[in-house]
């Protein structure tokens, strides 16, 4: 993802027309030529989040790594968050922006509760709201640099959707963000959407394992979360097993002797 962003050297002069009439910290910092407060590039990042509908609800899975470029810096970052009893979100991309995303959505949820009018925000409402927020920020050239998965279960109907940093919104039975799109989505699409919770968990673990094998920026410490009629359940982070013992990999020296 690289939407066209001006680098800091060009910012001040080009943005004057937009600065007049817009409010906010980023605008005022430009007027006074302070350092930029827009997200120009993601700094501490999370990799793919996977989502799959199963028989009784929706399951999300993600690893718990916060990468600082190529450094595996924060080993236990919780990237799956409960919003309400019917909604769960998971985020990849810049983790500080994801904290803000969660803050916005929780604020909406609190206002919604405070109305106390007997009707609550649906998972689809959360999805739409996030989509509008992300698109609005992209138009101001100040994106929240995330790909967010929204999962929910309400009135017996599962919901699974994705919103990304430029405001793209879509729903599907199986979703993945970031690198998971290339590695895990082919496997998730092959799995049925009517699996039991244990089978779905196994599919998610297999996908995260393959993601760890082939993605430089992922780890084996993972979390699985489900949202179903019983509400939202987020597991504690746990280690995933990996297998390195295949015979075929023992003699891969091209320039040396084959060990027969």
């Amino acid at each position: 993802f690289s939407p066209v962003l001006l680098n800091s050297s060009q910012q001040t002069s080009h943005y004057n027309p937009i600065v007049i009439g817009s409010r906010g910290k980023s605008a005022s910092s430009e007027r006074t030529c302070e350092p930029s407060t827009r997200t120009l590039q993601p700094i501490v990042t999370g990799t793919g989040v996977l989502g799959l509908k199963y028989k009784d609800g929706v399951m999300l899975a993600a690893d718990t790594l916060g990468s600082y470029g190529s450094l595996a810096r924060y080993r236990e970052v919780k990237r799956l968050s409960k919003i309400s009893d019917t909604t769960l979100i998971g985020g990849s991309g810049d983790l500080s922006d994801f904290d803000n995303v969660v803050k916005y959505v929780r604020e909406m949820s609190i206002y919604d509760n405070a109305h106390d009018d007997g009707c609550k925000m649906t998972p689809k409402d959360v999805h739409q709201y996030l989509g509008r927020v992300m698109y609005n920020r992209r138009n101001k050239f100040d994106p929240l640099w995330n790909e967010v998965v929204v999962a929910g279960f309400r009135d017996g109907k599962p919901f699974l959707g994705v919103v990304d940093l430029i405001g793209t919104m879509y729903e599907d039975d199986a979703v993945a963000t970031s690198f998971g799109n290339y590695i895990c989505l082919p496997l998730l699409r092959k799995a049925s959407t009517e699996l039991s919770k244990e089978d779905a968990k196994k599919v998610m673990e297999d996908c995260l394992r393959v993601l760890f094998y082939r993605n430089c920026r992922s780890s084996t410490k993972i979390q699985i979360a489900t949202v179903s009629a019983e509400g939202v359940e987020i597991s504690d982070p746990y280690e995933l097993s990996t297998y390195w013992g295949y015979e075929g990999f023992k003699h891969t020296e091209y320039h040396g002797q084959k060990g027969h």
Binding site: Y182, I183, C184, L185, P186, L187, R189, K190, D206, C207, R209, V210, Y213, R214, Y246, E247, G248, F249, T252, E253, Y254, K258, H260
Partner: protein
């Protein structure tokens, strides 16, 4: 005075090429290379090698060939899948195949896979990545089955399962999830078919049918179009109507009289 020996790489034409690239916007001098945008895969199983490939050749966003053949012959016991620029894959493999035939005649022995791989990697390195051929070379020789990938810049990897091309991640996901040591032939074939199908379904640069080649000691089987793509539409021509669809009152059958004015009459 002694002449400075010319050897090694000559980069005389690089400046000209860079100028052409910058100034040839119409594409009349530098033709756009036809790329394969591919899913190719190979796996080592108990008795040998299974190679698989899709059959779509793309020219940017257009499908240039719906049923091209990406599994190339190198020797009776060595086959090669190619991804990257079509022309480069085709010509490099034919050239090396010829060299291997001469080598076989010279030595009187069956070719080894490492011979083919060495020839390919040395050639590709000499051209510093400009020959855009990314190859999966697999075969069975006197030392057993072996599987290699050769990259356009000339590097080589020897591995038990490999994928290349734009659909390689989708295919590799299937391999990582399903690979076991010492697979049986049917299991290996099904795994490769599933991997190529995953590339065809999930990658836009791959499509159409699946080709498979199975190489074992002394025997090579090539399954062209083992899995066909869903046809987009079934042609309704010619329409077949069952006799009696149209009701009729009267039937009159008469023989048409033909008078031959020129040439000889046909036998009835």
């Amino acid at each position: 005075d002694a002449e400075i020996p010319t050897g090694g790489f000559t980069f005389d034409l690089c400046k000209r090429n860079a100028w052409l690239e910058a100034n040839d916007s119409s594409g009349s001098i530098i033709k756009k290379a036809k790329k394969t945008g591919t899913t190719i895969a190979g796996i080592v199983f108990k008795d040998g090698i299974v190679l698989g490939a899709d059959t779509r050749a793309t020219e940017g966003p257009i499908v240039a060939d719906k049923n091209c053949q990406k599994i190339h012959y190198l020797a009776p016991n060595i086959f090669c899948c190619g991804a990257g620029t079509s022309a480069d894959c085709e010509n490099v493999t034919e050239m090396i195949s010829s060299s291997l035939t001469l080598h076989r005649l010279n030595t009187g022995r069956e070719c080894r896979v490492v011979t083919a791989v060495t020839m390919l990697s040395q050639y590709l390195f000499r051209y510093q990545g400009h020959v855009g051929a990314a190859l999966i070379v697999g075969g069975v020789d006197c030392t057993g089955p072996s599987l290699f990938t050769v990259y356009p810049h000339g590097s080589v990897d020897q591995l038990p399962f490999v994928t290349m091309g734009s659909g390689s991640l989708a295919a590799m996901a299937v391999f990582e999830a399903g690979y076991q040591d010492a697979l049986e032939k049917d299991a290996a074939m099904n795994l490769v078919r599933a991997a190529i199908t995953s590339g065809i379904v999930n990658d836009l640069g791959s499509g159409s049918n699946v080709d498979i080649a199975v190489i074992t000691t002394g025997n090579t089987e090539f399954f062209r179009n083992i899995d066909k793509a869903d046809p987009k539409y079934k042609s309704k021509n010619p329409l077949k109507y069952a006799p009696g669809t149209t009701a009729f009152f009267k039937e009159q059958i008469s023989k048409i009289k033909i008078t031959v004015t020129e040439g000889e009459a046909m036998d009835d």
